[in-house]
């Protein structure tokens, strides 16, 4: 069995990429999804606030997903659900296992990687203390509560102030739990400001910045956590311990792009994003293999995932028609002062139509700064004023082709 485009993952990235490839004229497309329905993580994100950019209205996660599933139903895209991709070869063979189809090998002309990301766990951040029950990642608790219908606890402490943790603080409170505290090791929250307001402040849940959990106690189930203040180097300060009697700890301590399949195919991974290195059309180091959404870099807003994935899906369809792009000029993108990474990591100038959106995160909160793009000779290519910059909010700038043509060598994006 073969397809022109095989999309790995049926979440927002995969759905948008498949629909965009279809709209671009590709008529042989398959989405492979391991869950029992399409929509990915949106299905458990039942809060509202999705789609303000893309649909110009405020939707819940499942509503946003449903809009794209409805679009997909009007196409002839094949969908395999409950199907797990085991490996992808550099020759674009996709190995799948499922109850319905057993072990299948599909051949693709082009592959779109849209596997999303995974939560960091207790093991990843090495919290000391008892190994008792009652410790969940925030997303796991969200799935239990919103899809399976189980409350995971009654007295909750949340470690980390990422958006999922904040959303779960409100959700658990509305369902009758007492959320005692949200504890963040950094001096600022990693979540969106609006979520601090509507998820913590609305319910008088205290946010302890520059604090962390230094002990988890309990036999069988969590009974207590110890929270300590930390210094600038994130080391706990003795004498600052506070105890919270609780039965549940939720972890919202970051997300990691899920790239086992990308690695198995030999795709180059950027250590800064932990996602594939991509060009302006989201093509990876293997020609014809594209990547989009949280598998490339972790987004705050699904609307941006959609926009990025549409670009990748369209490019995958174009690749099936006319093969690899043949740009002679490739501009490498580097992150300068105050910038953590850039996506894309390089731009094939000759293939650029109009302008290239560039996404990145800054390293620290700052005010009244400029995002400056310079070439290798130090010449300013573009400059964008910003009133407010924060690591919790992904930034994006648009670089028009006319400006890119003036660059000598590569480009560096920095905060000045």
């Amino acid at each position: 069995m073969s397809y022109d485009v095989i999309v790995i993952g049926g979440g927002p990235a995969g759905l948008a990429a498949a629909v965009a490839a279809w709209d671009d004229g590709c008529r042989s497309i398959c989405i492979v999804e391991r869950d029992r329905e399409l929509g990915g993580i949106l299905n458990q994100c039942i809060h509202n606030g999705f789609g303000l950019h893309h649909f110009k209205e405020e939707l819940t996660g499942p509503e946003y997903a449903e809009r794209f599933v409805d679009l997909l139903k009007q196409t002839g895209v094949d969908v395999k659900i409950d199907a797990m991709v085991l490996t992808i070869t550099p020759e674009k063979e996709v190995h799948i296992v499922s109850k319905a189809g057993g072990y299948e090998i599909l051949q693709a002309k082009s592959v779109v990687l849209a596997m999303g990301c995974r939560e960091r766990t207790r093991g990843a951040i090495a919290i000391p203390g008892a190994r008792c029950a009652g410790i969940y990642t925030a997303g796991a608790a969200q799935r239990y509560l919103n899809i399976e219908g189980y409350m995971v606890g009654k007295r909750v402490v949340i470690l980390g102030s990422g958006d999922i943790g904040l959303i779960m603080a409100r959700r658990m409170t509305l369902e009758g739990a007492k959320v005692l505290a949200c504890v963040e090791v950094l001096p600022y929250s990693g979540g969106l400001t609006r979520n601090i307001v509507q998820c913590l402040n609305d319910f008088d849940i205290p946010l302890y910045l520059s604090h962390t959990i230094t002990d988890i106690q309990g036999k069988g189930r969590v009974e207590r956590v110890v929270v300590s203040a930390v210094d600038e180097k994130r080391n706990p300060i003795p004498g600052t311990e506070m105890e919270f009697d609780c039965d549940t700890v939720l972890l919202s301590v970051g997300l990691i792009p899920e790239n086992e399949l990308s690695r198995s195919a030999g795709i180059e991974i950027d250590p800064r994003t932990q996602g594939p290195v991509v060009d302006e059309d989201f093509m990876t180091s293997i020609p014809g293999v594209f990547a989009c959404g949280n598998v490339v870099h972790v987004h705050d807003l699904v609307d941006f995932v959609t926009a990025e994935s549409q670009r990748a899906g369209k490019a995958a369809a174009a690749y099936c028609r006319s093969g690899s792009p043949t740009s002679e000029t490739v501009l490498s993108m580097k992150n300068g002062d105050g910038v953590g990474y850039t996506v894309p990591q390089h731009i094939r100038l000759d293939d650029v139509e109009g302008s290239v959106p560039v996404f990145f995160r800054v390293r620290a909160i700052s005010h009244d700064k400029k995002i400056v793009v310079r070439d290798d000779e130090g010449q300013i290519i573009a400059s964008f004023p910003r009133e407010h910059l924060a690591p919790g909010e992904m930034e994006n700038i648009k670089l028009p082709r006319v400006l890119l043509e003036r660059a000598h060598g590569g480009l560096t994006v920095s905060v000045e």
Partner: protein
């Protein structure tokens, strides 16, 4: 002068609302911010999202939302009402499951189709 952070969209504008000057809002990047700033001081409202029991579906819960923002102080009253709601397949997104809750014109609607 009261300082607020707008929650209408993820941008999170820092608003200033002037109570002495008919609740005039500044610092907003769009008209929604002006509405939010004024409402937040006069009668704050929130969209409530939650789940209700679902019969005949692949999962035991159906996610729902208020079709309009509800007065903030009625959120827990709204949550209590949901305990007694059971939806049955087929459900379409937007189906009204509970009308005019808490003495308002706000309805609880399905936020997912399960067919």
């Amino acid at each position: 002068m009261k300082e607020l952070i707008c929650i209408t969209c993820p941008k999170g504008c820092h608003l200033k609302v002037d109570e002495a000057n008919d609740y005039a809002v500044s610092g907003n990047a769009c008209p929604r911010g002006a509405v939010y700033g004024r409402n937040e001081l006069l009668h704050p409202v929130r969209v409530v999202t939650s789940t209700v029991r679902l019969e005949g579906g692949p999962t035991p819960r159906l996610n729902v939302k208020t079709d309009k923002p509800l007065p903030k102080d009625k959120m827990f009253e709204c949550m209590a009402l949901l305990d007694d709601v059971t939806a049955t397949v087929p459900v379409h997104v937007g189906d009204v499951l509970l009308a005019n809750i808490c003495g308002t014109d706000v309805n609880i609607v399905a936020a997912k189709s399960v067919l």
